[in-house]
């Protein structure tokens, strides 16, 4: 491996001190960027041989600090492992290296009339290796499910450099433990996936996107309830509140939402074209019934892309409003959304914080965005307290502390809100089965044991 692919200059290492979550900074000892899976395995073997921890990193777009370097660690980046190894339309499978960008697989699959369903908002940048590590979601999970549904097999390198094949589409799913499912979402703590076998789906025959404008988030949430009660299963149900709308409209991704609206609801139906207009008509009726001030729908690709871009780039667009931004992530049972949202806004108000909401309303996945200025110590402390209260509200409503961003380092402090000591101990022991020496992404996900 050339010197360009081993970074040890402390100045160069600065760019690796954070991932998509900039609240934390920690430079690693070194960064290694292997170009082949053999090199990757060799690097893990050598680094672990020295007893040095390895932190895997894809594109560094994660929002929970999963790829944040651990002190004294070597970051192993997968950016150069970006080949699609095989695309098998006959069996609707693809085999890729971990550094392949999510949307690039989509583009390649499209040539065969197929697509890769999970579409996290960062899909234009995030890697499939990162998606596997985080079990990424995205707006279309309501109908299609999350990453783990689409991962059929993995080749992984474990502690010390041992390479193991897990699963595979041709293997009987009931003849062993679901190690693939277990590995997906392990946040880099079990090992590194060197090859990923994914399932592809045929492109939907048609797509309709509907945009409803509402005076309040509550009205939009009522429309969602109506849609679900109708027995409709949209591919996506997304709500943005007024603050988010205004941020997006001020960015280069302006989608044309009215900036005085209280909420925008994006509903997408896909599938056999013949049934979509009826679905749309029923959803439109639900929106009107819930008091929508405007409802538009389109089957035009360009319009759809623009509608979605506004939604998908909301996170970045917030950068314009305040110096720092904390994107929270929690899930609640869908029916509890209105009350939980109300409480979240109340918490924001109580701590005098600017909170904007973008969320996957169909599956109850909330993303409150808290805007703040890190240089204001008092505000920072309020952000911290407000975040905890928001998490508590979600857990009390029967939800959980992260729906798709992962625990990383950011949510460790909330793990005890949802898990008991027995469960945490079990997770720790399972981690130990994969990585007995604790040399993969140590100190992440599981909280420090309670002092006895």
């Amino acid at each position: 491996m050339g010197p360009d692919h081993v970074v040890a200059d402390p100045a160069r290492l600065l760019v690796y001190e954070s991932d998509g979550l900039t609240q934390y900074r920690q430079a690693p000892l070194a960064v290694v960027l292997p170009g082949t899976t053999d090199e990757l395995v060799e690097v893990v073997r050598a680094v672990h041989g020295e007893g040095i921890p390895v932190v895997p990193r894809g594109a560094g777009t994660g929002l929970s600090g999963g790829a944040l370097p651990v002190e004294g660690s070597v970051v192993v980046g997968t950016a150069r492992l970006n080949r699609i190894l095989a695309l098998d339309p006959e069996n609707r499978l693809a085999r890729v290296q971990p550094g392949v960008v999510n949307s690039r697989l989509g583009v390649e699959a499209r040539r065969h009339g197929l697509h890769y369903a999970p579409d996290p908002s960062s899909q234009s940048a995030c890697t499939l290796g990162g998606n596997v590590a985080e079990n990424s979601g995205g707006p279309h999970c309501l109908k299609y499910g999350v990453t783990s549904r689409y991962i059929s097999g993995l080749t992984v390198v474990l502690g010390g450099g041992a390479v193991v094949e897990l699963g595979g589409a041709a293997r009987d799913p009931a003849t062993g433990l679901d190690l693939v499912g277990l590995f997906v979402g392990s946040e880099g703590c079990f090992g590194i996936a060197t090859e990923i076998e994914v399932r592809l789906l045929p492109l939907p025959g048609g797509v309709r996107t509907l945009l409803g404008i509402f005076a309040s988030v509550e009205d939009a949430a009522r429309a969602v309830t109506g849609i679900v009660a109708q027995g409709l299963l949209p591919a996506a149900l997304e709500i943005m509140d007024g603050a988010s709308i205004r941020a997006v409209e001020a960015s280069v991704y302006a989608a044309g939402y009215p900036t005085d609206a209280g909420a925008a609801l994006v509903v997408e139906f896909d599938g056999t074209d013949a049934g979509l207009d009826e679905d749309v008509a029923r959803a439109v009726a639900c929106c009107r019934e819930a008091g929508a001030t405007d409802v538009q729908h389109t089957d035009d690709e360009g319009q759809r892309t623009r509608l979605w871009q506004g939604r998908k780039k909301a996170f970045g667009a917030m950068g314009r409003i305040a110096p720092d931004l904390l994107v929270q992530d929690a899930t609640v049972p869908r029916t509890r959304l209105p009350e939980v949202l109300e409480e979240i806004m109340a918490i924001g108000a109580r701590y005098d914080l600017h909170v904007a909401n973008v969320f996957h309303a169909g599956d109850g996945n909330l993303h409150p965005k808290i805007l703040f200025d890190r240089s204001d110590a008092d505000e920072l402390a309020r952000v911290e307290r407000a975040s905890r209260e928001m998490m508590q509200v979600c857990v009390d409503a029967g939800g959980t502390i992260t729906g798709e961003h992962g625990v990383g380092v950011d949510k460790q402090k909330y793990m005890r809100l949802v898990h008991g000591e027995e469960e945490l101990a079990a997770m720790s022991a399972v981690g130990g089965a994969f990585d007995p020496r604790g040399l993969f992404n140590p100190g992440k996900v599981l909280p420090e044991p309670e002092p006895a």
Partner: protein
Amino acid sequence: MSEVGILGQALAEHADRLMPCVHCGFCLPACPTYVRLGDEADSPRGRLHLMGAVVEGRLDPASDAFRVHIDRCLGCRACEPVCPSGVEYGALLEVARDVAARARPPALPTRLLLRIFGSRPGRALFLGVGAFLRNTGLASLGARALPGWGPFRSARFGLAMLASTERWEGLRWIRATEGQEAPEDPAPPTTGPRVALLTGCVQEGLYDRVNQATARVLEANGCQVVAMPGGGCCGALHAHGGDLETARRLARTEVRRFLDADVDHVVVNAAGCGATMKEYDELLGGDPAESDAGALARRVRDVNELLAELGPRTGAPVPCRVAVDHPCHLLHAQGIRQAPLAVLKAVPGAEVRLVEDADECCGGAGIYGITHPELGGRIGADKVRSVRATECEVVATANPGCMMQIGAGLRLQGAPEGVMHPVELLDVSYRRAGFYDEERDG
């Protein structure tokens, strides 16, 4: 205050423009250097992070890390349209380059080139020698004779760039066949805008034919083209190269010159120059000339942009397959995507095919191929591959740097495809249609 501090201060003045970066990483896959090197220090986000570290006083602007990675940026600005926060990367890069160059002089070829282009006699001499080498065939000979490794690589590429600027004669053999008559032409428009043409430095020295074609085509579309004596340099090379002081000096001259001409539009046929001129008010921010610069910037039009606005006249058929590649400074910096296609649409028989990665930088980026032979070569080779995959006879791209980069790449491969400015193709079409007064145009 230490040197680091003072220089950091220059960047710190732009801290409010660094702030919107939320580190989301959406820019990574759009960046040609990151995609090939995989190192985040070679990504827009990484470079912005390095700039931030300089501002915070955590990184010395004279450090290798800062210089190498800021220098390695192509400046293609492909990261800007994908940035959800609207980070003005191009502007920040220029400041960072300036800071880096002041902290530590840049590499010799860059320094020399900026020095030469900073003065009129320097430009004239340099481009005169270049034209001589090209016209005598020495450039072509050298590009063929020199080996492609080690110290010769850059020289060989430079000569190939020079050689590639000669007129491509391939179209001469392509004639309309029976049944491909020119469409009935309505009376030529008479009352178009009054325009002045930036003849530029490289354009004037090596691509005079493109300037000529631009003037003819504009006139054929009813524009009143005002002759501007003594072409100056717009300062784009210096602004992109980290010499803001010279860039500002040159810009002030151009602002005066063009405002004095009292035209509706300043037409530019080099995308890099157009991008800089449209941002003159930015470049001259805080300068007494700022408001004049703004007034001028608003009048600047890329030639494709203006023609598309006017709705270009349709010429005579030129049946050929044209591969279109977007210059970064047209697409990303000026947001112009459709205009060159609209221009080529006015050429009947021209079958336009977009190069597969038309949105991605060709690696030209000024003299990147010379200063970064390895990486520039890889990026260029990828572009040449995509261009060739279109199976076209000619490549149309609206920027001299891209024309040279792609032209040199094709030439070194011994590929037959020609490179033209879109306006040149329209010019051929017009000539065949008999739009020009043959006496004047010879």
